[in-house]
Amino acid sequence: MADSFTPMSRAAMAARVARDIPEGWYVNLGIGIPTLVADHVPADREVVIHSENGILGVGPAPAADAVDPWLINAGKSPVTLRPGGSYFHHADSFAIIRGGHIDLCVLGAFQVAGNGDFANWATSSNDLAPAVGGAMDLAAGAKRIWVVMEHTTKEGAPRLVQTCSYPLTALGVVGRVYTNLAVLDVTAQGFVVRDMVPGLTLRDLQDRTEARLVAG
């Protein structure tokens, strides 16, 4: 029998995250699905996007004939600057991050554990040249960490786990997880389910999750 529910697309996941970001927040978006979140914040809503390569007030991608190679985001894609935006150097940019001035950082991940640990930079201890970028600084410094990722790997292995098996990015920092199946808060009791795609039952979700889920 076919599943009676439809997992969310990457764009839908990004839109779901965007909906939950209050106006006025300073937000850093990681590479991958998190970057898409910016496209789903309406232009008239003032959410200030920070990019760790020295930009506050990142705007949408430019028209193809207006690309400035000197204006890219952390994912190295061309962007624009909103009125009120500013530029600064890398140490100042990470002072903003590490000093706790960013309200929210949305990151991708390989695994999140029920205690808020997460792993997003190396898929094994044998990965000798993993690319950490600014993930550890953001994870340790932002006021809130939300993770957005597929609920399971392509092979169906759960990503919401009891204990991360991949090398950690930071310990105990994840506050919320958005997957293509559900939205979950990380609490002292572990993962609490806040929302699920239509047609999905808590039991269906638990079947795809290693960590024990708590009904919201």
């Binding site: 990019s51 760790e52 390569n53 020295g54 930009i55 430019p62 004939d65 207006a66 690309v67 400035d68 190679p69 000197w70 204006l71 890219i72 985001n73 190295k76 061309p78 624009t80 600057l81 530029y87 600064f88 150097h89 890398h90 140490a91 940019s93 990470f94 991050i97 590490r98 190396a122 201890s125 000798l128 040249a129 993993p130 690319a131 950490v132 970028g133 600014g134 993930a135 550890m136 600084d137 340790a140 410094g141 090398p167 950690l168 990015t169 930071a170 310990l171």
Partner: protein
């Protein structure tokens, strides 16, 4: 004989003079933005080898940093994001086992160089606590929270891309091309700059100079055309 301060050099050879084998080179740029491409070509030509390169990335394509790697001129890379789209040469060379690699979180990398430039030999940070990248480092509990001690990261040479420069070495940058450049300019014994525009002394707004000339040793004019006004 005029003895005024004039840091503008007339040739790339003059800009690169004296970089020794074994030098630690701080290489500005984040992706292609703010990367001192002409200086990298100058360094390839100049011939110094056994280099340690500090940069955010480990080069893409086959030119610049990647070319240095391919030529076997790099002993050690210190960076935050070695493997990315197009880092083919890095991956080839790394696989041979002939390249040392130190992965540093991006913010820690920037702060370690800022510390070197500011006379701070070591500082504490939350970043990397409890992770593989804190292994072997001192962890210290301050007011109930664990922090990792990180050491200053000074360079022998910084290669910097600026937008405007004057003969005192005052610099401005363009947009996100600023990135690591001002921090690296502070942190090296010899700071070499390629600038798109050379302007008269006094032409830069003193409120808007990002790197004061005190941090700069040599400036070479590398005009490569203005980008579209985005």
């Amino acid at each position: 004989m005029t003895r005024v301060i004039d840091k503008i050099v007339r040739s790339m050879a003059e800009a690169m003079a004296g970089i020794p084998d074994g030098a630690t080179i701080l290489l500005g740029g984040f992706g292609a933005a703010g990367q001192p491409t002409a200086l990298l070509d100058g360094l390839i030509e100049q011939g110094a080898t056994d280099l340690t390169i500090v940069a955010n990335n480990a080069g893409t394509g086959r030119k610049g940093f990647a070319r240095l790697l391919e030529l076997g001129r790099v002993r050690r890379v210190i960076c935050s994001f070695p493997r990315s789209a197009g880092s083919v040469v890095f991956e080839e060379v790394y696989r041979t086992g002939r390249l040392e690699l130190e992965i540093v979180p991006q913010g820690t990398l920037a702060e370690r160089m800022r510390a070197a430039g500011a006379g701070i030999p070591a500082f504490y940070t939350r970043t990397a606590v409890g992770t593989k990248l804190a292994e072997g480092k001192e962890v210290r509990n301050i007011d109930g929270v664990d922090y990792v001690m990180e050491r200053a990261l000074p360079g022998d040479v910084a290669l910097v891309e600026a937008w405007q420069a004057d003969r005192w070495g005052n610099l401005t940058y363009r947009r996100s091309g600023r990135n690591f450049n001002p921090v690296m300019a502070m942190a090296a014994k010899l700071t070499i700059v390629q600038a798109q525009h050379i302007v008269d002394l006094g032409a830069l707004d003193p409120e808007g100079i990002v790197t004061p000339g005190v941090f700069v040793n040599r400036v070479v004019h590398v005009p490569y055309g203005d980008p579209p006004l985005g």
